[in-house]
């Protein structure tokens, strides 16, 4: 008769030495978990969030600063270009104005010269007329005297002499009048 042997496998170290090890291990792990869950992980995650925000803020700030610098540069460049065109314009204006001034001056000088010329001419003409008048008056006397000297006493006949002088003078007058006209 075969006796039934109860199945008894020696599990050796695979069985816990004390069953309480299971409970102790689990309780300790739960304690650790609670501390990690309530304290440690939130603290670290909060720090990470703050760091991310700080880094993002810093990057945004830097980006903004760069943008501002770019704007300032563009502004400066446009101002420079403006100043350049302004300077060019001023230079051009000055040149034009200079030319204009020179032309005006020249014109003025010309006018002055012309005026002076005209004055001189008029003066000359007046003097000439005056000289002619004086000349005529003196010339009549002189010519008569001279002719009297040449002709002698025959011209003492006042009547004839007077008529001859009159005729001569009338001739002379008409002559100068045609000349004037």
């Amino acid at each position: 008769m075969i006796q039934m042997v109860p199945m008894a496998i020696d599990l050796g170290p695979l069985l816990p030495t004390h069953i309480s090890e299971l409970i102790v291990g689990a309780v300790l792990m739960i304690l650790i978990f609670l501390v990690m869950w309530k304290k440690v992980v939130p603290a670290f995650e909060k720090m990470y969030e703050e760091r991310t925000a700080a880094i993002q803020g810093g990057m945004e700030k830097a980006e903004k600063a760069q943008e501002e610098a770019q704007a300032a540069l563009a502004d400066y460049k446009s101002q420079l270009a403006e100043a350049r065109t302004e300077a060019a314009r001023i230079r051009e204006d000055a040149k034009n104005q200079g030319a204009q001034i020179i032309a005006e001056m020249r014109e003025q000088a010309n006018a002055e010269a012309e005026r002076m010329h005209a004055t001189t001419q008029a003066q000359l003409a007046a003097e000439r007329v005056q000289a002619m008048g004086e000349l005529r008056t003196e010339l009549g006397g002189l010519a008569t005297t001279l002719a009297g000297r040449i002709v002698g006493e025959s011209l003492d006949d006042d009547e004839r002499a007077r008529r001859t002088v009159e005729r001569f003078l009338a001739d002379l007058e008409s002559q100068t009048e045609t000349e004037k006209a």
Partner: protein
């Protein structure tokens, strides 16, 4: 030279007889009060506080580890500045390693909800695994499988809870058990397989992987230290003494390897938990 039998060869190289070498084993991971039959029968080490069997070395290590994790993180999360100092820089490095490298990478935008658990899990695992290489402790807490099971069950509850919360119980079960595009006649095979893989093997492998790595790593260190010390002090055999010295030196190399494995296992446990949560939340399977 005559043929040598294997036991004779082993006997020539390893001092089995004559000495009183006791090879390290499972008993080096079990702690009971000194008057407990487990100790008196040689199946466990003596060590407990307040006369309570389970208030032993691994228990206090777990408590101190948890306290360390809580206190260190509370200090680290105090007074956080936008521009970090040296201490904060290090804390942030660890924090973002889990936050960005694990939680956000795997879970996407909903990582925030699961981050506290993942961060706590990783820290708790790392500290306790490194206790295996820390003076005064010199024992990885998770080489006691009970603690590994505790965390595996927590992760199991969390990824199932996440799925039920997101999709409702019925829909979640359907998504997990019935893959899209499977012919109806295969369902009787597929459903138990999917159930096993999604609800049974996941927590089992999570716990076992962690425990086995810590247990085996610590056992290797114990073997090199205990064996090395025994050989080094063996009388009138220079070869044994030199081997013992080499073995002790080698145990330091193993300790450094254990540091790496401890960190790796903490990372793997955390990543897999995140992965399971993700597969529970995902719309299509």
């Amino acid at each position: 030279m005559g043929p040598m039998t294997l036991p004779a060869l082993v006997g020539a190289l390893v001092p089995l007889e004559g000495g009183h070498y006791e090879s390290p084993g499972v008993k080096d991971f079990r702690y009971f009060c000194a008057d407990n039959p487990e100790v008196t029968s040689g199946h466990a080490l003596a060590g407990c506080t307040f006369g309570v069997d389970w208030m032993n070395k691994p228990f206090w290590q777990a408590v101190i580890g948890a306290a360390l994790v809580i206190v260190l993180w509370l200090i680290a999360s105090r007074n956080l500045k936008k521009v970090p100092g040296k201490g904060q820089f290090f804390a942030e490095y660890v924090y973002s390693f889990i936050r960005n490298g694990v939680a956000r990478d795997i879970l996407g935008p909903e990582y925030r909800r699961y981050l506290p658990y993942l961060l706590g899990l990783f820290s708790f695992l790392l500290v306790n695994n490194w206790f295996g290489e820390t003076f005064l402790f010199m024992l990885p807490t998770f080489s006691n499988i009970g603690y590994a099971w505790a965390l595996a069950i927590m992760s199991w509850l969390i990824y199932i809870g996440a799925g039920i919360h997101r999709h409702g119980f019925g829909h979640y079960m359907k998504m997990q058990l019935v893959p899209a595009g499977v012919p109806v006649y295969l369902l009787p095979v597929i459903i138990p397989l999917e159930f096993l893989s999604n609800f049974i093997t996941r927590p089992l492998t999570l716990g076992l992987r962690l425990f086995a790595n810590m247990f085996a790593g610590h056992l290797v260190v114990l073997v090199f230290v205990a064996g090395g010390a025994f050989l080094l002090t063996y009388e009138s055999n220079l070869f044994y003494n030199v081997s013992g010295a080499v073995s002790l030196l080698f145990s330091f190399a193993i300790l450094f390897l254990e540091l790496f494995i401890g960190a790796l296992q903490a990372y793997i446990f955390t990543v897999l938990t995140a992965q399971y949560v993700h597969s529970s939340l995902a719309e299509a399977h």
